[in-house]
């Protein structure tokens, strides 16, 4: 399947995602520059981690207005697969492709460590290879990852089943007020959400950083492999 990794000035996980898609998952991958106004035929688009446009104004705010995001929006509206990781999640929020906003981590510290995620949805193109309730160990690396929205919007998000990943204990229990397990203080322990159609996923943890045995953890690979395989199947059926 043809995959695109968007490169903003300041992206720094673009090559990691490219590497996993190309060399581990053997896909056709290309970089998409922020000034491009097409996706060059890509079926899966990944917005990688980093500090797009230096995080000027707010994380993701400037990137959300770049030419490539117009193409990403059209792709998303047509049901195309979009995955935003970390800074890419922040860009998706600022672009309003998914609801909510990010605040500074409650500790005010940049956090770089493994966290535990409970899988809340297994019927999405990204998560169909995971088990409901499965606990994944995936690293985070961010300073602004505390997900926030109004109580009313959070209720709607839960009712629509848009919460895909939640920070939990290694046993899979909720611990929303415990910074050891909900590292940034995210509302309701939210670590990843999707749009109502389920084709746009934003998540703070980095699956591309745990997708090879040599890295000591392959929990992220199942997710990325799922996205790639689901995308290929959908396209196969369409053809």
């Amino acid at each position: 399947m043809r995959c695109g990794v968007v490169v903003f000035p300041g992206s720094n996980c673009d090559h990691d995602v490219y590497h996993v898609l190309k060399h581990v998952l053997q896909q056709d991958v290309t970089f998409l520059w922020h000034q491009d106004d097409t996706l060059k035929g890509c079926e899966l688009v990944v917005l990688p981690g980093g500090f797009a446009y230096g995080d000027y104004l707010r994380a993701g705010a400037m990137a959300a207005l770049s030419p490539v995001m117009g193409a990403v929006k059209r792709h998303a509206e047509a049901g195309g697969l979009v995955l935003g990781i970390c800074n890419g999640f922040q860009v998706l929020l600022e672009a309003k492709l998914i609801p909510g906003a990010m605040r500074r981590n409650q500790s005010l510290r940049f956090l770089c460590r493994d966290v535990y995620l409970k899988v809340e949805r297994t019927d999405l193109p990204f998560t169909w290879k995971l088990r409901e309730g499965q606990v994944l160990r995936i690293p985070i690396a961010h300073g602004e990852g505390s997900y926030e929205d109004s109580a009313e919007h959070l209720d709607a998000l839960e009712a629509n089943r848009q919460v895909v990943f939640r920070y939990v204990t290694p046993e899979g229990a909720r611990a929303d007020t415990d910074p050891q397990w909900n590292p940034n203080g995210a509302a309701r322990g939210i670590a990843g959400i999707c749009n109502p159609g389920g084709n746009v996923l934003g998540m703070m943890p980095h699956p591309e950083r745990c997708s090879e045995p040599i890295l000591g953890n392959t929990d992220g690979l199942t997710l990325l492999a799922g996205a790639v395989e689901a995308g290929s199947q959908v396209l196969g059926a369409r053809r």
Partner: protein, 86 residues
């Protein structure tokens, strides 16, 4: 025409940065600081002369870019050409 736009985290949202600054103020000896909100301020020069049109435009800027209204509030004030308040 000059304008100042200020953007603050919304009241009902915990502002960990403001809280850290409040605690630091107490530590350096300023008593009686109850609360601090840390925000951003923008000084914007506009070419137009119509204050109402300017206010409208500035509010639009806040909605579209300067503030994230999910977590931030904003206010807009027009300053004289010399930077004094009008």
């Amino acid at each position: 025409m000059k304008a100042r736009v200020t953007v603050y985290p919304r009241r009902e949202i915990l502002d960990p940065q403001g809280k850290a600054i409040r605690d630091a103020l107490s530590r350096v000896g300023f008593a009686g600081v109850d609360d601090v909100r840390a925000g951003k301020s923008f000084e914007i020069s506009l070419t137009g002369e119509d204050p109402e049109a300017a206010r409208r435009q500035l509010r639009d800027m806040c909605e579209k870019l300067l503030a994230n209204t999910v977590v931030e509030d904003y206010s807009v004030e027009l300053l004289g050409n010399e930077g004094g308040r009008t």
